[in-house]
């Protein structure tokens, strides 16, 4: 299996991030923005193991939101994210950015 986390340290880090998520989810409603932010995880690492494109966890909400706005408004399409950013409303971008900023992680 190629995609198994490669070291015990990584597994521990994963377990820690899961535990944090669970504590956050102990109340009935899931954290705001979690589901929207999960739609970034196909391509972006949200749990600190270094896979995918630019790591988002650890960036500030403001950084992530403003990057998304810049990409959404870019008239000359340069990358796939210039398109993907068009898939979210302003309120959705703020919500997912706030959630991503709450995750542990190094950022890029």
């Amino acid at each position: 299996m190629r995609y198994t986390p490669r070291t015990q340290a990584l597994r521990s880090a994963l377990a820690a991030s899961i535990a944090l998520t669970v504590i956050g989810a102990a109340h009935a409603a899931p954290p705001a923005g979690r589901l929207l932010a999960a739609q970034c995880a196909q391509c972006h690492d949200l749990d600190g193991n270094g896979r995918g494109f630019e790591e988002l966890a650890g960036e500030s909400a403001s950084e992530i939101y403003h990057e998304l706005v810049e990409m959404k408004n870019r008239t000359r399409i340069e990358s796939i994210m210039d398109r993907q950013a068009r898939g979210y409303t302003d309120a959705q971008m703020r919500a997912l950015a706030a959630y991503l900023a709450s995750l542990p992680g190094g950022g890029d």
Binding site: T4, A19, P30, Q39, Q42, R51, Q84, G87, Y88
Partner: protein, 432 residues
Amino acid sequence: MQTLNRRKFLSLTAAAAGAAALPPQSRAVGARVVVLGGGFGGASVARYLRMWNPGVAVTLVEPNATHVSCILSNLVVTGLLSMNRINLSYTALRNNRGVQVVQGRALGIDTGGNRVTVSTANGNVTLGYDHLVVAPGIDFVPPPGNWNPSLTPHAWQAGPQTTLLRNQLATLGNNDRFVMTIPKSPYRCPPGPYERACMVADYLKRKGRTGATVTVLDANPSIQAEPEAFTRAFNVTHAGRILYVPNAVVQSVDSASRSIVTSAMSVSNAKVLNIIPAHRAGAIGASLGVNAGGFVPVDPLTYAVSGVANVHVIGDACAVPASDGKAVPKSGHMANSEAKVCADAILRALNGEQPDTNIATSSACYSPITSRSASWLSANFIYGDIYDANGGIKGKGMHRVDLGEAPAGEVNQDSYQDMFTWADSLFYDSFA
């Protein structure tokens, strides 16, 4: 007949997750979710249910020991990757996420009794559920004539069929003909057949097969995805090697002689005949009721099947309400996206809450054009009003708010490398 009882089930999953991680106030703790099918949709929903609430017991039922990814499989057909590269194990879901993986085939769903009967190597097992997620992928609608996929492979479900088509392609000599069909939409992976045509043409060039060609018999009136990239690829990049024939509806197939009759063109004795038949929902999904196209209509907020309590269908087997002409594509990436919406809705339902309405789904993919360059495709959907062809509101569903392909300058080597980053990340987000 043996029954995996709830206590044994809980002890297994609690041991895997660490009992201390259980959320103390969640009413979802102890709930049982059974998932049928371990492709991108089924694996992702199992993974996210356990990540978001380790108190939920999740059983994943899958006939095969591993999943072989359709994503990147055209690179296996054309000898650029090994089968091992697209072979995805369930070990990480089992060991890292605490998913109970049962190798077996679902025989039937007792929707009134909330249980599924599964055929395994050790006999039949009955699994009770609080929620059931059905993610069986596709079955094929046999074309008219004498179609035999072991002679004229589809290679549209990866695995032995991928190997078979790879081996047949290897026999192609100078002036030989590779003929492939594309079914009417909707089918799995809209750019996939055009990608395959390009990669076979690239293979013929790399191998120096002079005069050998690819004939694409498309039942659709035009290229269904990335029209600019594939038109350029067919007319410029692979000029003289690809013959594209639209409106070619299959009328008869004879696999023994590798011959085909379509409404636009007939071919006798092709060297390789790659028949991709029309699709319908996988049988266990279809048993829940299908629309005229053969797919299972679902609620876009929960992926629940109307009139069947606590049963959900995700991925290629489902039909999501969408605006006319803006269908939700059937793809591994989209199945993963839908799985997250479904997992969130199930966890809310178990806690007595309403589903989230502020939801988005997406698909993104990279399509190799040659062994050094790739294009990409992006599609995004938001829940809300959906529209008929005249712009009138026809209901609620997933409305496509954006669709676009790589501009010409982005069909390049960087995108080819990004393809592997995307695929590996998606593999991880679904299976690890």
